[in-house]
Symmetry: C2
Subunit: 384 residues, 2 copies
């Protein structure tokens, strides 16, 4: 069995569910911290467990380059390599490769690209992305897609989604033929990895519909909406999600890739999204941007130099229980490595706690009130 998805409660289109994966039963809606190169930057795995993270992401492109999927496979797969016993999801490498711009060349067969590390030449095809992801051994793999750039005109978006659909078919065929090669196949008999399809189509709702319908015909155990948060205005992101979600099977997990700010993830969960991921909480933390129940704090700000309060008075995380804003500001100013550790711990605690509140609100029927509070906070912040 690859994945089962049990819906316990709904609140409008939102769902409170358990997604059972080989390594972990994941409570959804879920925010997945990003562990790009086999580590959620600056956070030891046991602290990630303490935070309640049940699933984290690995980036196929980065892990392929360093330390290499063959090495990871020989060492038993990514779970064992990084000592992460819970669930893992790997992206297809497509998004990172497409971010390389001048360093890539797309053909029907796949993508030639140059490493951002040393300029060396590489080639990713749907088949190769599957091989790499099977070797890494995540619980969930993503089909190799072309992430359509923004803006893209209609004919470009159409051509791009057609390529994504052909690659989805090739991804699935190759995955089905090779998934028995999963590094932990013998350890977890009867369990397997799951491959999700990705909906593209640019900012054209009818193209999104076409892509979704044709992907659903291929019958994936879960579906993602990709090609968002690529520079488009936020109302457009929301519109595409809102129009695409109903086209995806209600009994399977639905994942929006690469979002978002705290109010966005609440909003999208309320619209029926089950899974989200974003580098924002971890990357922003390293730049001193903290997310709190009262809005965003730039902890470098001189105003915090003698502030003895916690980063977020309503947060019970290990950072807010112990350290002051003054200390966090000092660590940042003195460029102490502990700064990244503590800021990241807080931001992840805030994101994971936000999703915990969303799940509770769906279960007890208070999602509209939670959503109203989150929107009010966002309004007040933009008025500052």
């Amino acid at each position: 069995m690859s994945l089962s998805f049990h819906i316990h409660a709904t609140g409008g289109p939102a769902r409170r569910a358990t997604m059972v994966l080989p390594h972990q039963a994941v409570e959804t809606p879920v925010f997945m911290p990003v562990g790009t190169v086999g580590s959620v930057k600056a956070v030891p795995q046991h602290l990630l467990e303490d935070l309640g993270a049940e699933i984290i992401l690995g980036n196929t492109y980065h892990l392929y380059l360093r330390p290499g999927h063959d090495l990871v496979k020989r060492l038993g797969g990514l779970h064992r390599f990084m000592s992460w016993p819970r669930a893992l999801l790997t992206d297809s490498g497509g998004f990172q490769v497409f971010s390389l711009n001048d360093l890539r060349k797309v053909s029907e067969e796949g993508v030639h690209f140059r490493s951002h590390l040393d300029g060396s030449s590489h080639f990713f095809s749907p088949e190769h992305s599957m091989d790499v992801q099977i070797a890494l051994g995540a619980d969930i793999l993503m089909a190799f897609d072309e992430c359509t750039e923004y803006p893209a005109d209609r004919s470009r978006a159409q051509a791009s989604l057609e390529l994504t659909l052909r690659w989805a078919r090739r991804s699935k065929d190759h995955f089905d033929a090779h998934q028995h090669e999963t590094p932990w196949a013998a350890e977890l008999p009867g369990q397997s990895q799951s491959l999700f399809g990705i909906v593209q189509g640019g900012m054209y709702p009818d193209l999104r519909r076409e892509c979704a319908e044709r992907l659903v015909e291929m019958d994936f155990p879960g579906y993602a909406i990709g090609g968002l948060s690529v520079g488009e205005p936020r109302p457009l992101t929301r519109e595409i999600i809102e129009q695409t979600l109903p086209l995806l099977p209600a009994d399977k997990p639905r994942y929006v890739m690469g979002v978002g700010y705290p109010d966005e993830i609440v909003e999208y969960a309320a619209m029926g999204v089950d899974m989200m991921d974003c580098v924002l909480p971890t990357r922003a933390a390293r730049h001193g941007l903290l997310f709190t129940s009262q809005g965003r704090l730039n902890i470098k700000n001189r105003a915090f130099a003698e502030d003895q309060g916690p980063a977020d008075p309503e947060c019970g995380c290990m950072v807010c229980r112990r350290y002051s804003r003054a200390y966090l500001r000092h660590l940042m100013a003195a460029q102490e490595p502990l700064s990244a550790v503590l800021n990241t711990l807080h931001n992840l605690a805030f994101y994971l706690d936000t999703m915990r509140r969303v799940r509770d609100a769906i279960a007890i029927g208070t999602l509209p009130a939670l959503l109203a509070r989150v929107r009010a906070l966002d309004d007040s912040r933009s008025g500052q």
Copy 2:
């Protein structure tokens, strides 16, 4: 009461004792991790507590520059500022200032120096060093001394120790007059900070003797041997320690500053040293050098790329229990911030565990056997 020192057992000149300080009863011999700018680099305080660290060091020079002792005092002192409930020791700033070389100018009154951060001009005198250290509020302060450079000829070493003695007197007078200004004076009534004297005298045993005898006349609650590990050969370090220790009161703590490698700290503890500190385990960790029961590992080495064993098979620390050498090597190669966190945790665990073994060995009378094992390891390593 400032400090009490209870000797429970001895093994030759070595002593197993408890040093009771206002914030913590510290088991000695002790190795003190260095927290230069208010943080032991890359390690959250709760993990330092988990490691069993009972006392850590802060550097007065660094904390004076950033965030500033006045700010730290207004926020309740360094313990509260950095949320470290256990014991703290601050150095006098002298060693760092003397390391500035071209940026300083020494006079009878004190030292003019320029900040390594922005070139701004500053002045440290014994009185000012005391003011800064009283404001920081560590459990143990160090007298302001001149760290004699190596090599120094006899007349230079003599003149330098005379200055150190005059500064020790001024340090003590100023400390005695102002120690009631300790930021936590009201919180811990009847408790106070303790000021230690520092023996200088270069590499001349008779000058060390003279300095020790005249310092002892001033009656400090503890004494340090400074001016070592400044470039001299190790047998000379050992000789100076060996000849100076018997000149210091046996019923008070004896501290050798700035040492050392794992075999050194065992050796010096066996000679009767009670306290040591060094940036080595933390700094080396950030460069990938790990200390283990089998000698040193350069974790960047390609030989470890697929090594699934722990950094040290005999170590039970949170890093060795969970992560492989292959993973630690990968983190270092990929320049992941977690690398510094995990490497530092292991090295500190190894150092603290080493001192735990020393204390146990003194208590049960097996120190000679422990010492023999440590020396044998050192010999075998240098033969590699």
